[in-house]
């Protein structure tokens, strides 16, 4: 590497971007979808009827029903999590953490009856949300892989800015001439530079959301590794109350909910009940963030057996802690209203476009000269590019289709939806092995567009009778149609861009050998 600073940064940008590009594309796509996580969940459970409002009395009653269910079904659990009904999602969601080695439990209840809610089983938008940082792997593995890729992404962003000579001169430039490489380079530059503040913010804050997992050494040095003590001292969680080791009886939680609601003016989000059958049990009421960027949930902690308030957390974070919670808040964008959320979504799409166009650019820039066969490396990158860029969206469309088409009483229905997601992804990825790259791109992208259209048709055909708010569901379907149109457009453009006339003969030449009887 005996070259100038800029060349070494260009090298670094090319290769760091390539090796993590496929994972990053998946992280960007599912992260962008997660801006509409709640909407996706609602669309995927059309049986759910929204309510005008949920009164404090109804909240208290729902909490009591939840505890009854947990006492019967999760008595031995270490911690219970109760998400309370909201007008948008009038359900009680229970989650409980068992002793290490036993998988956690999860159930949705009807807040009026306390019986399991009668709805199709699905992971909804939560699947994309978790995939975004765990890749559907074991959490530890997934989080480390995504974290490492995010760090490499930061390196790629910084080296990309250093490499790009004409940031200001080319700021508005999207050349439409016939040279494929320049077209892809412009697309990569525009999507990267224009949304650069977003890309830097989202990548850095993304790493920060799991900062203590990736970089625990500050807590190791100053707190002997006790993360709970650290978080409690920063004022982000209530102080831990260790178990007494003696059995105790949980007092009714309904009155605690009432007191918590009287203390904090925000909507109540969930209850966390730690060591529910211990004499030193703790009930924490966690509220939604007040308006503002900071991801800062007000909390009220009760002694579980007596129902007395032991701690109230509401604002008052010190500057560094405030910076931390603001970074997490910026990443999650819960503060964003409908209009700003659209802009965040657009920025996320530009992130997908930046990663995708960068990956494609690698192959376009390395197209072999006329008459020379493509090497193994080129074919591998091409296959992975197509498998990721077209395969993942196809998987998403198939996941939506499965949600509407799988029988409602199918066993393990939610898991089967996920199988369909991966099955469709894999099937489209195999298209990447098709020996004519340009045709493979066109076909795969057109297939994605067709799948999204199919989702809308199937939704209207099968779920129309369930819609509680037809305009909302039609709006969601319209967004899917817009996505389909986008993929159709790209499929059309690829015809020109991925292999312009000069290249066409070349790219199909190697196809002739292994492919027999090709029309």
């Amino acid at each position: 590497m005996k070259q100038g600073f800029r060349q070494s940064m260009a090298w670094l940008h090319t290769w760091s971007g390539l090796v993590v590009g496929w994972v990053l594309f998946a992280v960007f796509v599912t992260g962008t979808a997660s801006y509409y996580r709640a909407e996706i969940s609602r669309w995927m459970q059309p049986e759910l009827k929204r309510e005008a409002q949920v009164t404090p009395e109804a909240l208290a009653a729902a909490a009591d029903l939840a505890v009854v269910h947990l006492q019967t079904h999760a008595g031995a659990a270490r911690t219970w999590f109760v998400t309370l009904p909201t007008p948008e999602r009038p359900l009680v969601e229970l989650f409980w953490r068992n002793k290490p080695g036993t998988p956690p439990g999860h159930v949705l209840l009807d807040p009026q009856t306390g019986a399991p809610a009668a709805m199709r089983a699905t992971r909804g938008g939560d699947f994309f949300y978790r995939f975004h940082f765990e890749l559907n792997l074991a959490p530890l593995w997934g989080r480390w892989i995504v974290g490492i890729c995010a760090m490499v992404m930061l390196v790629a962003l910084v080296s990309g800015v250093i490499t790009h000579r004409r940031i200001f001169a080319d700021f508005f430039t999207l050349r439409r001439d016939k040279a494929a490489q320049r077209g892809w380079l412009d697309a990569h530059n525009v999507s990267g530079v224009l949304a650069l503040p977003f890309h830097l913010m989202i990548t850095y804050t993304g790493v920060v959301t799991l900062a203590l997992m990736y970089m625990p050494w500050g807590v190791t040095a100053a707190y002997k590794g006790d993360q709970f003590a650290y978080f409690a001292e920063t004022g982000q969680i209530t102080k831990a109350r260790p178990a007494a080791g003696q059995p105790g009886t949980l007092a009714p939680v309904g009155p605690m909910v009432g007191r918590a609601l009287a203390t904090i003016p925000e909507p109540l989000e969930r209850l966390t009940i730690v060591n529910p059958r211990d004499a030193n049990s703790t009930v924490v009421a966690v509220f939604e963030e007040p308006h503002g960027l900071s991801h800062e949930h007000p909390q009220v902690a009760f002694a579980g057996t007596s129902g007395d308030v032991v701690e109230v957390l509401s604002g008052g974070l010190k500057p560094a802690a405030k910076t931390f919670t603001t970074m997490v808040g910026l990443h999650e964008a819960h503060f964003a209203g409908a209009a700003l959320r659209v802009l965040f979504f657009l920025c996320g799409l530009m992130g997908c476009a930046m990663v995708g166009s960068g990956l494609v650019l690698w192959t376009v820039a390395r197209l072999p000269k006329a008459g020379v066969a493509t090497g193994f490396g080129w074919r591998l990158v091409h296959a992975l590019n197509l498998g990721t860029i077209a395969g993942l969206p196809a998987g998403i469309a198939a996941y939506f289709l499965a949600n509407r088409l799988l029988p409602l009483d199918l066993g393990a229905r939610a898991e089967r939806e996920v199988w369909v997601f991966f099955g469709a992804w894999l099937a489209v990825a195999l298209v990447g092995l098709w020996p004519a790259p340009r045709r493979a791109w066109r076909g795969a992208l057109a297939l994605v567009a067709a799948l999204f259209v199919a989702v809308v048709i199937v939704d209207v055909a099968t779920a129309r009778a369930l819609w509680d708010d037809p305009a909302w569901f039609l709006g969601f379907d319209a967004a899917l149609l817009a996505l389909a149109a986008g993929f159709a457009l790209v499929s059309h453009k690829v015809a020109r861009f991925a292999a312009p006339r000069r290249m066409r003969r070349v790219m199909e030449a190697p196809a002739a050998a292994p492919q027999m009887g090709r029309a």
């Binding site: 001169a169 700021f171 508005f172 430039t173 999207l174 050349r175 439409r176 525009v190 224009l194 949304a195 503040p197 977003f198 503002g292 960027l293 910026l330 503060f335 964003a336 209009a339 700003l340 659209v342 802009l343 965040f344 657009l346 920025c347 530009m350």
Partner: protein
């Protein structure tokens, strides 16, 4: 609706900056801009971008305002880039429309 103000103003700002460059100026009018015109457009562009920041902070405060501003810069920039590379002459009617939208939204938010 306050987001429309900073969106409209930053669209105008980016349009002015874009048209101050010879290549993009030529796509709309015949020939490159003279020096005076370049400087005027450039000053107007930066001024409008500053104005959109001021508007975002005026309407949404110091907390969310800067985020709104960056979001609207990116959104307006994307629209501008697509328009000027596919239909550059559409800028001739889009800029007055953007100005009108920003003005109406600003008046609506102030009332």
């Amino acid at each position: 609706m306050t987001l429309l103000v900073s969106l409209g103003v930053s669209f105008l700002g980016f349009a002015a900056l874009c048209l101050s460059m010879a290549r993009h100026h030529q796509a709309v009018w015949s020939g490159p801009p003279d020096r005076h015109r370049t400087l005027t457009l450039r000053a107007a562009g930066w001024g409008l971008i500053a104005l959109s920041l001021a508007a975002a902070i005026r309407f949404d405060g110091w907390n969310v305002g800067p985020v709104d501003w960056l979001g609207s810069l990116i959104g307006a920039g994307l629209l501008l880039i697509v328009v000027q590379s596919y239909r550059p002459r559409a800028l001739l009617w889009m800029t007055p429309v953007a100005a009108a939208i920003a003005l109406v939204a600003a008046l609506g938010s102030l009332v």
